[in-house]
């Protein structure tokens, strides 16, 4: 056992970096060691599928914090360095350089890795990429720019797939998106929103094909084809796979933590071992608003969980009770989501579009309980939805549906 007060954080993306700095703000005087396998100074992830991909000139990643800020906050940043083993008995981690470091508190912010499904021929495929980190984006850019013809097939129509489609289209690619489910964004949004995004992409010249189960990638005479179970085939100079992620939970398993598609934590982000915490994409945590365990892949979740752990380690009582929010930018469309719509039994639509610019919102309810709001180019609906969810007040449904009632918290609270 060691006596040193040292917080080791594994993973230096939004959650890990936020935690390191929040610990200092919260008054933690112990050591802070922050590891990441990625050698790049920690950077913003959401722009990767958007401006970092489509931006002109050399790839620009936006650092989360400038390098000197780590020094100033006395954060021992160990980049390009993987933690390969944890010894919970002696409270130490060992990295891939064989260096052992002791901790008093360990925080797993290990995130997730992009899934590459076992598609026949994928291991030999040319120009096949996932899009998860800065190096992925760099590889895509370096490969794409010199291509003679630029037929890109994107496998998977989730947010990453669709944002990447929009960016590549902007870069001049001929883009096809293949989705296994009958609609785009099937796992994450309603049929109404799926229909909107399908039309949006088609209007921008992206070919969207659903119910396409990709079974093989073949090459004949230098031409690469993505083949589907229904016999269709799509020529691809480049292939991007965006079919979801697997949680990086090997270390958690090694520590003997409870793991179930994510590291199971309590509302303080504490795992089943009291001095080990899990935050960000890798955590499966209780959500008070929805009364169930959730695992969220979002900046909001990463940042807010980090703040909770910082407060907890500083000896104060903090609970993670934030209402989840998300956003996605595609073409000139801004989607903002607050809440989790899963389990809704009715949805109300407010169309406030003017001219050719869409501006609308979908409001998801279970019974009288508001679950979530999807707002397209309509920050007002997003903001009012956020306030309603926080207040837990009953929503006046007739006013919600009346377009003569302008959106405000006061107007929508039932009375």
């Amino acid at each position: 056992m060691n006596e040193v007060e040292r917080c080791i954080i594994v993973g230096a993306s939004h959650a890990g970096v936020q935690l390191a700095f929040a610990l200092r703000t919260a008054g933690w005087n112990g050591d802070i060691v922050l590891y990441d396998r990625d050698p790049l100074l920690p950077y913003q992830r959401p722009p990767l599928s958007k401006t970092a991909l489509s931006g002109e000139g050399t790839m620009k990643l936006m650092p989360l914090k400038p390098e000197q800020a780590y020094t100033k906050a006395e954060i021992d940043l160990r980049l390009g360095c993987s933690v390969c083993a944890v010894n919970t008995a002696e409270q130490s981690v060992t990295d891939d350089g064989g260096r052992k470091t002791y901790y008093s508190h360990l925080v797993l912010a290990t995130g997730a890795r992009a899934i590459v499904p076992p598609i026949q021929g994928s291991e030999r495929a040319k120009n096949l990429f996932t899009l998860r980190d800065g190096q992925d984006v760099n590889r895509i850019r370096q490969t794409f720019n010199p291509l003679q013809s630029s037929r890109v097939v994107i496998i998977g129509a989730g947010y990453i797939g669709l944002e990447t489609a929009a960016s590549l289209k902007k870069m001049g690619a001929e883009v096809t998106v293949l989705e296994r489910e009958p609609r785009v964004l099937a796992r994450v949004t309603s049929p109404e929103m799926s229909a909107f995004f399908t039309e949006l992409h088609r209007n921008h010249g992206v070919h969207i094909a659903c119910s396409k189960n990709v079974t093989a990638i073949n090459e004949r005479e230098g031409v690469q084809q993505v083949c589907c179970a229904d016999g269709s085939a799509y020529t691809a100079d480049m292939i991007i796979v965006g079919v979801g992620v697997h949680v990086r939970q090997e270390l958690a398993k090694q520590c003997g933590l409870r793991v179930h598609n994510g590291v199971v934590t309590d509302s303080q982000c504490r795992s089943s071992v009291p001095n080990i915490f899990a935050i960000g994409d890798c955590s499966l945590h209780p959500n008070a608003q929805y009364q169930r365990f959730v695992r969220l892949e979002s900046v909001q979740n990463a940042v807010d969980q980090a703040k909770v752990v910082a407060e907890t380690l500083a000896g104060r009582c903090a609970r993670y009770e934030a209402i989840p929010w998300f956003w996605s930018d595609q073409y000139d469309i801004k989607l903002q989501i607050v809440g989790l719509a899963d389990g809704y039994d009715r949805v109300f639509f407010r169309d406030e579009s003017e001219g050719n610019t869409p501006s609308f919102s979908y409001w998801y309810f279970r019974g009288m309980q508001l679950l979530a709001v999807d707002a397209v180019n309509n920050a007002k609906a997003y903001v009012v939805g956020t306030k309603l969810l926080k207040s837990n007040a009953e929503v006046n449904l007739s006013r919600l549906q009346d377009l003569n009632t302008s959106l405000s918290l006061d107007a929508l609270i039932a009375s």
Partner: protein
């Protein structure tokens, strides 16, 4: 080149110079306390809220509709409020003073 002053909640003054990028990027890259820019600068998170000195309001121009709406998430929003990811640095901003919102 524009010289821009950020005043933090602890009354620290950061006098920074830039000729491009957004005010938020400038603040984050210089470690100005209280400017987080969690969404990376796309007006989605409202964590880069500043109050612009009254005499400089005209210089920075008006907030867009979406920015005005996002500001309503913050109870401390005033007529001087801006999300500084939505303010592009230019020579015209030389001498600008903004205060990080509470």
């Amino acid at each position: 080149m524009a010289k821009i002053t950020f005043i933090t909640r602890n009354d620290e003054h950061y006098i920074l110079e830039a000729d491009s990028g957004s005010l938020m990027e400038l603040a984050v890259q210089n470690g100005v306390d209280g400017i987080d820019g969690d969404c990376g600068g796309v007006c989605s998170c409202a964590t880069c809220h500043v109050h612009v000195n009254t005499e400089h309001m005209e210089k920075v121009g008006a907030a867009s509709e979406i920015e005005q709406d996002m500001l309503e998430l913050d109870d401390n929003a005033t007529a001087q409020s801006r999300l500084c990811c939505q303010i592009d640095v230019s020579d015209e901003l030389d001498g600008l003073v903004v205060r990080v919102a509470r």
